[in-house]
Subunit: 168 residues, 2 copies
DNA sequence: TCTATATAAATCGCATCCGATTAAATCGCA
DNA sequence: TGCGATTTAATCGGATGCGATTTATATAGA
């Protein structure tokens, strides 16, 4: 009886902003709060592991994103991570200063900066340091289901925010 | 076939930190990244609505938490929100300065600060300003299922981090 | 009573996020 | 060719999160 079968009975289903009727408007009924607090929880759960590597949670995610492909531009990396250069640039400079990545202007287009993992950066991931986190989620077989649901939620939210893909 | 039935076939299930075998270690397979990016997406989706109220995403969540009960201490509010006074105090001072909450030392224990919504703060919630967000999630009947799954995930992660509830 | 300890909030410094702006390079097009 | 528009990072300021410390108050034990 884990995550399957939407209930949707006549009795107070949990909504994005729960109940119009005052009573159900509790923090615990907000999906946004569930995601907000789950994100905090992930950061705290990762902390003991990442502290040993001298990395923050966000820095670790950047390194994973960089492991997929060499010589990504800041913009391309930002598209993967849903961030922009105002957030990424300071993080990338920090990771460069500790030797995990390289940053260089693209000679063919000096506007762009290309980022790659160094061997030291790649070595960080070899041990799969966050493998113990799988058990900590406690989701068991529901793991892939939740992963897909949250991803779908994210994509729907982003789509609702942006205007149109293109129009001309 | 929305969120039900965990696949768990022999072919690359999505894991917390995906595949030991290098190939599946993609950002898109990380549950932590799904939650991380969904949280960013929520903040962006709420922004147009909350901008009109002059509130940030976190400030709005604080107000919802305060609407449940008057005269909460900073510590009690922090337990609900999984935050501590180092984060809450500046936010509460800001909300006080714009007239949405009151802060006062408890006369019976001057160490504690008690926080309540003002009528203006309570009025903010009357229109249920984030109601349009329900549709933006695009989850339909899966909404309550996802809400519960993410909450369970959060609680499992927090439990795995903390030592024991008590011991003496 | 008097003091050591404990507790609650606040403060401080660092690392994100993000809107707005700036600087540099490239592109479009007459 | 030349210049304005566009694109890409970077910069700047405000608002979180959070570990570590500080301040003020309350409690406990000799």
């Amino acid at each position: 009886m884990p995550t399957s079968k939407a209930a949707k009975g006549p009795d107070m289903p949990a909504l994005a902003s729960p109940q119009p009727g005052k009573g159900g408007r509790k923090l615990s009924n907000f999906l946004c709060f569930a995601v907000y607090s789950a994100n905090l929880a992930f950061g705290r759960a990762y902390k003991p592991i990442l502290d040993q590597l001298g990395l923050t949670y966000t820095q670790y995610i950047v390194i994973v994103a960089l492991s997929e492909e060499d010589d990504q531009t800041v913009g391309a990396l930002g598209e993967k991570m849903f961030l922009e250069s105002n957030t990424l640039t300071p993080i990338l400079k920090k990771l460069e200063s500790v030797g995990y990545i390289t940053r260089r202007r693209d000679p063919a287009d000096e506007r762009q900066v290309r980022v790659s993992l160094t061997p030291a950066g790649r070595t960080l991931l070899d041990g799969d340091p966050v493998a113990p986190m799988i058990a900590a989620t406690g989701l068991g077989d529901d793991f892939p289901v939740v992963q897909k649901s949250v991803t779908r939620l994210r994509d729907n939210l982003l789509r609702s925010t942006q205007p149109e893909p293109e129009k001309s």
